[in-house]
Amino acid sequence: MKKSNKQANTGMKLYRSEKIGIVLFLVPCMIVFLVFYIYPILEVIITSFSSWDGYGTPEFNGLKNYINLYTNSTFLMSLKNFILWSLLGVTVHVGFGAVIAFILYEKPFGWKFTRFAFMAPNVISAAAWAIIYKFVFSKDYGILNTLIRNFIPDFEVNWLFESPYAFWAVTLTWLFYSVMTTLFIQGDLMAISEEVHESAMLDGATRWQVIRKIDLPLCRISLGTSVLMAISSKIGMYENVKLTTAGGPRDDTMSMAVMLTDSVTNLKYGYANAIAVTMIILGIATLLIINKLFRMNESVY
C-alpha cells in the first residue's frame, strides 16, 4: 500500500514537473504572441474609435471613423472591387491553377517544360509584375496595343487609366499567376494511391468521373487553402494596384489596402485603423466560411 502511494506520488510529481516544463516552454512564445500580435491588434481596434494623427494622444470619437468609412464612396468602390476580385480569384485564378495541376499530373508530352514555363514567372514579385504590366498596357508602346494595331491601325486605349478597362487590366496582373494552387493540388494528386484510380477504372469509370468523384474530393483541403489564399490576398491587395494605377482612374481600381496606406500617409491613423479593423473582420469571416465550406479540419481520408 505504501509502495503504491509512493509510486502515485512520484507519478504526480513527474506529471506536475512536465506541466511546469510545458508552461515554461510556452512562456517565450506567449510573450512574442502578446507583444507582436495581440497588443498591436488591440491597439488598432482601440484607436480605430479615435481621431489620431499618430503623434499625439488619440481622442475618442465613437463610431465616427466607421460611419465616415462606410458612407465613403471610395471605400464602397474598394469593397465592390474586393468582391469582384474575390469571385474572379475563386473561379478563374484557382480554377486555372487546378486545371494546370491536373494537366501536369497526367504528364503529357513536354510537361516538364510546361511546368517550368508556368512556374518561372511566379518567382517574380508582384511588384515587378506590376511594373512589367505597365509596359504591356502602355497606350503608346505597350505590347497589347501594338498587337491590336496590326488589325486596327488607329486603336488607342489607355488600358490602365481609362474606364472601364482599368479594372480588367489590373485584374490581369494577377489572375493567371496561380502557381501555389497548382503546387498544393499537384501534391494532393500525387498522394492519391494508384490502386484507387485503377479500381475505379476497372469498375468502368471514365477519366472525367475519376476526377469528379475521386480526385477533386481528395484535393478538398488544398482547394480550400487556395480559395482562402485567393480571397485573403484580395483583402490586402496593394502592390498590383499601387504600382500601376494607384486606385485610379477615379476610384475604379481602389483597394482597401491602398486606402489604408493613403490614410496613414495623410496622418489619419484612427481612420486607417478603422479600415484595418474592417480588413481583419473580413479576413476572419473568410477564414471561418472557407473552413466550414471545405471542412478544413476534417481529414480527407
Binding site: 512562456v27 510573450i31 494623427d53 503623434y55 471610395t74 489607355n158 494607384a246 485610379g248
Partner: protein, 443 residues
C-alpha cells in the same frame, strides 16, 4: 528532477534572450545621439543625416562636414552617419526621448504637429540676434515662418530659395523670346509641335509644379496661395481653380506629351531625355541627369548640353522658402550648444552658402555674391541659367503641396486621367476634388 532543471534552464534562457533582443533599449543613447567632450577636450558629435549615400546633396554635405572639422581641429569634430530612412529614424529618436543635439527637420507635418505643439525645440532667437550677419541673409517670409507666436524661433530660417523653372531642349525648341517674358498662351503657341513632359501618376508632380504657375496668373492668385499656406485649400470649385484646371487640360491637349496620362516622374524624365518631349518643369537638381557622365540615360540624340532653362511664363518661379531646417535639442548642455552654434556659424557663412549654391543650385536672394562665386557660377550653365532668370521683380509662389493637402495630391493623381482624356469635364473634376477633400477632412 534533472529533466525539470534542464527544462527550466532552457525556458529561462529563451525568455531572457527574447526579452533582451526584443525589448532592450540598447547602447548608450547620450554617446550616440548627443555631442560630448572627450578626454582631449574635443567636442565630438555623430550627426545622423539623410544627405548621404545616393542622395544628391551627399557630396556637398560630406565636404561641408570635412571643412568644418578642418577649421575646428582640436576643438570640435563631427562624424557623419548616413540613414536611408532619415525621416522615420529621426521621428523614432525624438519620440523615444533620444533627440540628437542638432539635426535637420525632415517631415514638415511632424515638425508642425509634434515638435512645435510639444515645444521640443531650442529657441534660436538668441543665436540669430548674436549673429546679425546670418539673420540678414535669412529670407523674410522664412524667418516669419519659423517665428512662433511667443517670439521664439523653432528652427533655422532658409537663406536659399530652391525654385523650379522650365527646362527645355534647345536642340528641339528655340523660344522666340525669353519664356518668362511670354504669357502662357503665347508660350504654348511658341512651342509648336514640341511637347511638355507632364505626368498624372505619383502625385502628378509635373502638374503640381504647373498649377501654382497658372494660379499666379489668376486675379488674387498669389494672395490666395499665400492664405492657403496657413489653412490648406479645400474648395476647388472656385472660378480660379476652374480656370487653372481648364488651362491644364488645354496645355495637355495642345502640347502635352502623349504618355503623360499614368506616367510617373521617371517616365516624364525619360520622355525628356529621349527627345520625345522638349520641355519639363523642374528644379536645378535635374542638372545631375544632364551631365555627360549620365549619358547612358539619354537616347534619340538627346544631349544634356543642349538643355537650358528659364522660369515660368509671366516671370514666375515656383519654390517655397518657408520650411523648417536645423533644430537644436532644448535639453542641450553647454558643450552641445557650443558645437551646435559652431556648426550653424559654419553652415550659414557666406563661403559655405556659396559652395552650397554651386553644388546644389538655388538662389540666395538677400546675399551679395562674391566675385569668385559669380565667376564659378558662370561655369555651370544649368545653375546660372535659373539663378540669372530670377530677379527682384520675379513672383515667387509656393509649390502645390504647401497650400493643398497631401491627400488632394493623391486624389488629383487619380482624377486627372479622366479630366485629360475628356471623360470628365472641368466642372465635374473640380466638384469631385472638393468632395474627396471634404471626405478626407471629415476623418
Amino acid at each position: 528532477m534533472k529533466k525539470r532543471i534542464i527544462c527550466s534552464m532552457l525556458a529561462t534562457v529563451m525568455a531572457a534572450s527574447c526579452m533582451v533582443s526584443g525589448c532592450g533599449k540598447g547602447g548608450n543613447s547620450k554617446a550616440s545621439n548627443r555631442a560630448e567632450r572627450n578626454k582631449d577636450g574635443v567636442i565630438e558629435y555623430t550627426m545622423i543625416s539623410g544627405k548621404t549615400g545616393e542622395d544628391e546633396a551627399a557630396p556637398y554635405f560630406a565636404a561641408a562636414v570635412d571643412r568644418f572639422n578642418e577649421k575646428n581641429e582640436g576643438k570640435y569634430h563631427i562624424e557623419l552617419q548616413g540613414s536611408t530612412n532619415y525621416g522615420e529614424k529621426m521621428q523614432q529618436l525624438i519620440k523615444s526621448g533620444n533627440m540628437p543635439t542638432i539635426f535637420e527637420g525632415d517631415d514638415p507635418d511632424f515638425n508642425k504637429n509634434y515638435m512645435i505643439p510639444k515645444k521640443t525645440y531650442y529657441d534660436l532667437s538668441d543665436f540669430l540676434d548674436s549673429h546679425p550677419e546670418i539673420k540678414d541673409l535669412c529670407i523674410d517670409s522664412s524667418l516669419e515662418f519659423v517665428t512662433m507666436e511667443d517670439g521664439t524661433i523653432c528652427s533655422m530660417p532658409n537663406v536659399i530659395l530652391n525654385s523650379t523653372g522650365v527646362w527645355y531642349n534647345a536642340n528641339l525648341y528655340s523660344p522666340s523670346k525669353p519664356i518668362k517674358e511670354m504669357e502662357w498662351d503665347e508660350f504654348v503657341e511658341d512651342l509648336g509641335d514640341n511637347k511638355i513632359a507632364l505626368q498624372t501618376g505619383d502625385g502628378a508632380y509635373q502638374i503640381d509644379l504647373l498649377i501654382p504657375a497658372l494660379m499666379a496668373q489668376e486675379e488674387n492668385g498669389v494672395e490666395l496661395m499665400s492664405q492657403w499656406k496657413d489653412e490648406n485649400c479645400t474648395d476647388f470649385t472656385t472660378e480660379e481653380w476652374k480656370n487653372v484646371f481648364s488651362k491644364v487640360k488645354e496645355i495637355y491637349d495642345e502640347v502635352g506629351w502623349s504618355g503623360s496620362i499614368g506616367a510617373n516622374y521617371p517616365d516624364a524624365a525619360n520622355s525628356f531625355m529621349s527627345a520625345n518631349s522638349s520641355v519639363i518643369f523642374n528644379g536645378v537638381w535635374i542638372a545631375a541627369n544632364l551631365k555627360e557622365d549620365t549619358d547612358g540615360n539619354w537616347s534619340n540624340g538627346f544631349d544634356g548640353a543642349d538643355v537650358t532653362c528659364d522660369i515660368y511664363p509671366g516671370n514666375i518661379t515656383v519654390g517655397n522658402p518657408d520650411t523648417y531646417t536645423w533644430w537644436i535639442n532644448p535639453e542641450a548642455d553647454e558643450d552641445e550648444l557650443e558645437l551646435a552654434y559652431a556648426w550653424l556659424e559654419h553652415y550659414y557663412s557666406q563661403d559655405e552658402v556659396e559652395q552650397r549654391l554651386l553644388s546644389l543650385g538655388g538662389t540666395a536672394p538677400k546675399m551679395d555674391y562674391s566675385e569668385e562665386f559669380l565667376t564659378e557660377l558662370e561655369k555651370d550653365p544649368f545653375s546660372s541659367a535659373l539663378t540669372n532668370a530670377i530677379q527682384d521683380d520675379t513672383t515667387i509662389v509656393p509649390e502645390y503641396y504647401y497650400f493643398c493637402s497631401n491627400s488632394s495630391m493623391e486624389e488629383m493623381s487619380r482624377l486627372l486621367p479622366s479630366l485629360l482624356d475628356g471623360s470628365m469635364s472641368v466642372d465635374e473634376f473640380c466638384e469631385e476634388m472638393t468632395a474627396k477633400e471634404k471626405a478626407n477632412n471629415e476623418n
